[in-house]
């Protein structure tokens, strides 16, 4: 990204909302979209108040279509598709979203996001109720949930604080080390983590007579968390914090010269991502009903990276697209080929996607759309320009 564009973005931080649309590369010239200039005129008599219009303005017709589809989905799909495909994708997507935010907008690829999610899950089991009455404290679910998310966020910030001084592959290495260390701690500690066996019977609570363990109810819980997190991230990357984070990603030295606290922003990003991953982890433990070291092992940590890369790190929605594809492959690849070779299909699909579209499925989709419409919308550029630009620092 050119320095001139960054200067523009920085200068107009008050108008960040409009400028950054072009910064993070999602602005698309849309025929149905009303002219932006018209929006700035004062509201006419009898129209909706300003705050309502501010909420409604960014909503476009495809948002409505997608919203209708995901809301109707559990009513047409079988309980299996609602729970195992739908809800699991949303929970995994939420954890991957935290990595997309960190990696795509902060330029920090952390493998420890699954560790944070697993930690939140473990803490929920330790503070709340589980099969192991000797360890679980039996707090009410809302208190256990709050404590789990708070501690997970703090630990994420601590991991961030530890790893922000590294860059690129060293960040991956240090977060991998943290993740593997946590895996072995969980496997070998019996007083707190109950070792190899972990905890089971961790059930989603019943709220206002609504049993959240039911597939449809759990799907909507996961959907609500995922949608909230999605719009939260979308808002954050256009807010001053997010814009500064993207500036730090592309040129930390220049941002420091401009007076930004680079380390603080990065640690803050880790904390935010930690909260998202923590929520995802809670959904995951409610989905599985149990947690054991295998859930936070190296394979699981790398799966989150695969999901994020698969969907594409250009946009928050990529995490969820990646998760859906990943879960579908995990479930149905075995039906496609020989029982003993189905991992080949999974690996092959991942390889093909990464090979033909470095931006994941999102990049593939945009290429396809550009080709179909036959017009050049906007040159592709990457928000995570990462190592190439970084090397100049």
């Amino acid at each position: 990204m050119s320095a001139a564009r960054w200067r523009r973005a920085m200068n107009s931080s008050a108008a960040a909302a409009t400028t950054t649309r072009s910064v993070h590369g999602t602005a698309v010239v849309h025929p149905l979209r009303p002219n932006r200039a018209a929006d700035t005129s004062p509201p006419a008599q009898g129209e909706a108040p300003r705050w309502l219009r501010a909420i409604v303005r960014p909503i476009r017709w495809h948002h409505v279509v997608v919203a209708a589809l995901v809301l109707l989905y559990p009513f047409v799909a079988t309980p299996f598709f609602t729970f195992q495909i739908g809800a699991q994708s949303l929970a995994l997507g939420l954890i991957a979203l935290s990595l997309t935010f960190l990696g795509g907008y902060g330029g920090m690829v952390s493998l420890a996001q699954m560790t944070i999610a697993g930690l939140a899950a473990y803490l929920l089991a330790i503070f709340g109720t589980s099969s192991n009455a000797a360890i679980s404290l039996g707090w009410p679910w809302w208190l256990a949930l709050a404590a789990a998310l708070t501690i997970a966020t703090l630990v994420a910030a601590a991991i961030g604080w530890l790893s922000v001084r590294t860059e690129g592959i060293y960040t991956i290495m240090i977060t991998l080390a943290v993740g593997v260390a946590f895996f072995y701690l969980a496997q070998q500690n019996y007083t707190l983590f109950n070792g190899f066996q972990g905890f089971s019977k961790i059930a989603a609570p019943t709220v206002f007579d609504l049993d959240l363990r039911e597939p449809t109810a759990f799907y909507f819980l996961a959907l609500a968390c995922a949608v909230t997190a999605y719009f939260f991230v979308k808002h954050l990357i256009r807010a001053p914090f997010g814009v500064a984070l993207q500036g730090i990603r592309d040129n930390p030295r220049r941002m420091q010269a401009l007076g930004y606290a680079v380390t603080a922003h990065r640690v803050g990003a880790y904390a935010v991502a930690g909260l998202l991953a923590g929520v995802g982890g809670v959904l995951m433990v409610w989905y599985n009903g149990r947690i054991s070291p295998g859930t936070v092992g190296t394979g699981a940590m790398i799966n989150i990276l695969i999901i994020a890369v698969l969907g594409g790190m250009k946009h928050p929605i990529g995490a969820f697209i990646g998760a859906v594809v990943f879960v579908l492959l995990q479930n149905f690849a075995i039906d496609l080929v020989d029982r003993e070779r189905f991992n080949l299909v999974i690996g092959g699909v991942f390889l093909a996607i990464v090979l033909f579209s470095p931006d994941g499925l999102l990049g593939l989709w945009q290429q396809l759309r550009a080709r179909l419409s036959g017009r050049v919308t906007q040159p592709r550029h990457r928000p995570h320009s990462s190592t190439k630009n970084r090397s100049e620092t």
Partner: protein, 418 residues
Amino acid sequence: MNSKYGKVFARSVLGAAALFAVAGAAQAQEVLKIGLLASLEGPFAAPGQDSMRGADLALKERNGMAGGKKIEFVKVSSDATPDKAVNATRKAVEQDKVQIMIGPLSGDEGIAVKNYAKTQPNITFVNGSSGAQAATLTDPAPNFYRFNTEGAQWMVGLGEHALAKGYKKVYLIAEDYGFPYSQVQGFMASYCAKGGKVLDKAWVPLGTKDYASVIAKIPKDIDALVVVLGGSDAVNFLTQYEQAGGDKPMIGGSITVDQTVLNFKGKRRESLLGTASAGPMADSIDTPEWKKFVADYKANFKDGFPSPSLFAYLYYINTKATLDALDAVKGDLSGGQKAYREALQKTNFKGPAGDVKIDANRNGVGTTYITEVTKAADGSFYNKVVKSVPNISQTLGLSDAEFKKMGLGTRDVPDCRK
């Protein structure tokens, strides 16, 4: 942003396709789908493959038919983690609509599948080879059946055998998870009751490579070592113990001195001679049933092991029991599978390695074989059967009250150190 269509479109297409698939299958009445879960990935991938061979063999013996219907296996896979096992089972039950489910392979998976079974009262679940005590002892599911015996039962009788060999004081080295806990309990229950002592226990994490600190702590005044390690852990320990100059005789768990370990090279190999172990089967059982089983296995699976593994055997008897009961009710699974489950409960046949039947908790009651490592005429080592102990129940030969008092095996139960 518009790529959300992509996601939703793909989802709805797949959903629709799946619905058609289910509808199509429902029309073919004479085919009965049975789910088959084993670990085809992860640390148990090779045993998982052999498990599938065992199940396939049971079906092949009756030309793919049971109860007058053609049987179709819907095979699913896990990576030996409970999460994956439940996901795979849920897919087979809810998506592929199987009516009977066989699996899984490992202990903790079994407990997770048992818990899932409770949410599907109209489906019958039969164990594969998982051997966690808790699956049928703690809070059992009424529709979960296990025709094999479990880890603790496999070691019953070994304690007396060790005492008979004059091992009064032993030191224990075992992996730190559920299956070795059960195995150690099965050994200690009788060993300690009859005066044996375990001076200390070393619980090592699964996958430990360096045993130097454990070997350094082994006391001088013991009679034997009890080694409950599996696969590469066992080989690593035996090699390092040999290099450290250790010379105590050994007692092994059910998977400690199998063929993979017996064929490793080194001086220590000689000193393995006489090592006692126990299990639900042995390579050298001298009955026509076992010989026929091995011959059938070899004839059907050219790519298989030289002799069926423990996992192939356990999946075989569980699958055979499932299909036998289907024959007994002539394939009738109506009425919430009530008649079928009664038939399962009554199942009692002579398997390759002894009688197969279940108790009131729907857990296997069977024979355990005590073996010793012996040199064959051609110089190779094998496990020779020295004794078989029939009719071992899950309470390990104790009364229910005595067993309850002891509790399930853990790191400290039974203690046996005093």
